[in-house]
Amino acid sequence: MIGEIFRIVWNYIRKRRTRSLLTIIGILIGISAVVTLIALGQGLTNAVDYQFSKLGSNRITISPAGSTGMPMSKTTAQLTEKDADTVKKVSGVEFAMGLYVSSKPVSFGNEVKQIPIGGMDVNVETLKYAGQTGLYEIEKGRNFKPGDKYKIVIGSKVATDAFSRRIKVGDMLTINNTQFQVIGIQKSGGTGIMDIIIRMPKDALRELDGKTDQVSMINAIVKEGADIVKTSDRIEEALRNERNEKKGEESFTVQTTRSLINSFLSIIAVIQGLLVGIAGISLLVGAVGIMNTMYTSVLERTRDIGVMKSIGAKNHDILLIFIIEAGLLGLIGGAIGVLFGAIASTLISAVASYYLKADILRISISPFLIFGPLLFSFVIGALSGLFPAVQASKMKPVDSLRYE
């Protein structure tokens, strides 16, 4: 029967060519917009993913739980040099170093300011890998070399803004009654954190502090070719074992650049969701168009309905005819819409990469993006046709046959 119903419906759609076409356009616009926006959003996501992965996302940061990753935020949980050694031994880890940060009163001239101080090892190995992270580049003066002790490298903001007088390379600062010589000024950039801290050899900082082996955070670099996510999982497990903690109750967090990308991607997803939602409204308009067309058709075909019933059509046959007709109008609109959407998004990405000279959109039309909207448009159509169809199926044959 369903095959027969499709034949009947197809005759009616062809008979009312112009109106069918206008109804189809209503759905077509909505589906094209939705498909275009999803394809573009997907393309943007792909491109971001690709760019980040090219950037060499090989850094893992371990910080005490509850801290935001900011070295100076206060938490009860603590990491130690022992943790840093544990991380160093995890397979997939090329190198790891503990950073120790502590806030101290710093005096320059006759002013005293509280400034966060980061302590790092100044042995050959650490300096080599610190150089690879790109976080420690020098603007003026020089970086640490092995053997440095009462020397400091200051952030660019510390140099210009912390004291009323600008600090220059070679100046002396007093920290906890100890004199330190400024050997370099850090290049500004990155997250901005490096701009507002003072770096000194870890040994010197520990001397000032008297604290034992606490570290504020651990930076690890992943071996070339190693999977960063798996490595970070292994780090988590190793630290858990070493610190005797249960899964889910860790007193530390392990973050990768991957998690950074993911939070970036989730922002894209939210924006995309909003845009698709707005495009969805035009689909609603299309659905109302189908409903309107179907109500008109039911009225126009009142006599046909009576005739069909008189020659043996059951109520549910009539119901199916109108629902499938509405669904088919939606489906045709959806099919053309998917095609238009695919073409539009491909064109937009071509134009964008031509003018921006970069692959900012990597469009790929997945089967999901084809069949999803097709199914959706059929269902939207069928639902819009539901009420008119129920009305048609309930008509009494004698009344519809008398209808002029």
Binding site: N11, S310, G312, A313, K314, H316, D317, K396
Partner: protein
């Protein structure tokens, strides 16, 4: 002539139009036997079409009983009635009532579509019936491209699609000139005489009724007189 094909026993049909009730049938009783050719005559508004609707199971009576092949059909559900109509009754209307979106052949196939008859069989049967009514050449034409007489021939073919035992023709010649009307009635008479179909014909025209029908039933104010 043992049992009637159809029997109306004290049938009342009341239509509600707002506050007023219209009694279209007032205790109508009628028996029609297999192979009969009955003409129903009466003034306009006397209940002829309503009677036809009762015979053809298009509607149920307000009061009274209708027996089709000795089976009481007066309280059946719409879908059961639809199945009975599709298999046992063929309707021919004054306005032809072909579906304008379909061509002649598709119109004849339509009753078979609702009975789930295989596509091949539908097609063969439709062409044979169109041949029989002399419309095979017109099978690809839409109703709007055909004359009234041609449309009515196709309607006859459609009425025969599921081999019903009974053909109900409600003023089939009302919209035709007398020559074409005679041709149509001759065709219907052939169905009665050659194929043994039971025919119920509603007509205004006493001459036509006497010429083609074997029995004439007069109706007035919803009753047989």
């Amino acid at each position: 002539m043992a049992k009637p094909v159809i029997e109306l026993r004290d049938v009342w049909k009341t239509y509600k139009m707002g506050d007023t009730n219209i009694d279209a049938l007032r205790g109508m009783s009628l028996k029609i036997y297999e192979g009969e050719f009955v003409a129903i005559m009466g003034p306009s508004g006397s209940g002829k079409s309503t009677t036809m609707n009762m015979i053809g199971c298009l509607d149920v009576p307000t009061k009274g009983h209708i027996f089709l092949d000795s089976q009481d059909v007066s309280h059946m559900t719409e879908s059961t009635l639809a199945r009975i109509r599709g298999r046992k009754v063929g309707f021919i209307f004054q306005q032809f009532n072909l579906i304008s979106a379909f061509n002649a052949k598709e119109n004849v196939m339509l009753p078979m579509m609702f009975q789930d008859i295989p596509r091949e069989e539908q097609s063969e049967k439709a062409e044979a019936l169109l041949e029989m009514v002399g419309m095979l050449k017109r099978m690809a034409h839409k109703p709007s491209e055909l004359s009234g007489g041609e449309q009515q021939r196709i309607a006859i073919a459609r009425a025969l699609a599921n081999d019903p035992q009974m053909i109900l023709a409600d003023e089939p010649t009302g919209n035709l000139d007398s020559k074409t009307g005679n041709e149509i009635l001759a065709l219907i008479k052939k169905l009665n005489e050659v194929d043994g179909k039971t025919i119920v014909l509603v007509t205004h025209d006493k001459g036509l009724a006497q010429k083609y029908a074997k029995r004439i039933v007069q109706i007035k104010d919803g009753q047989i007189i």
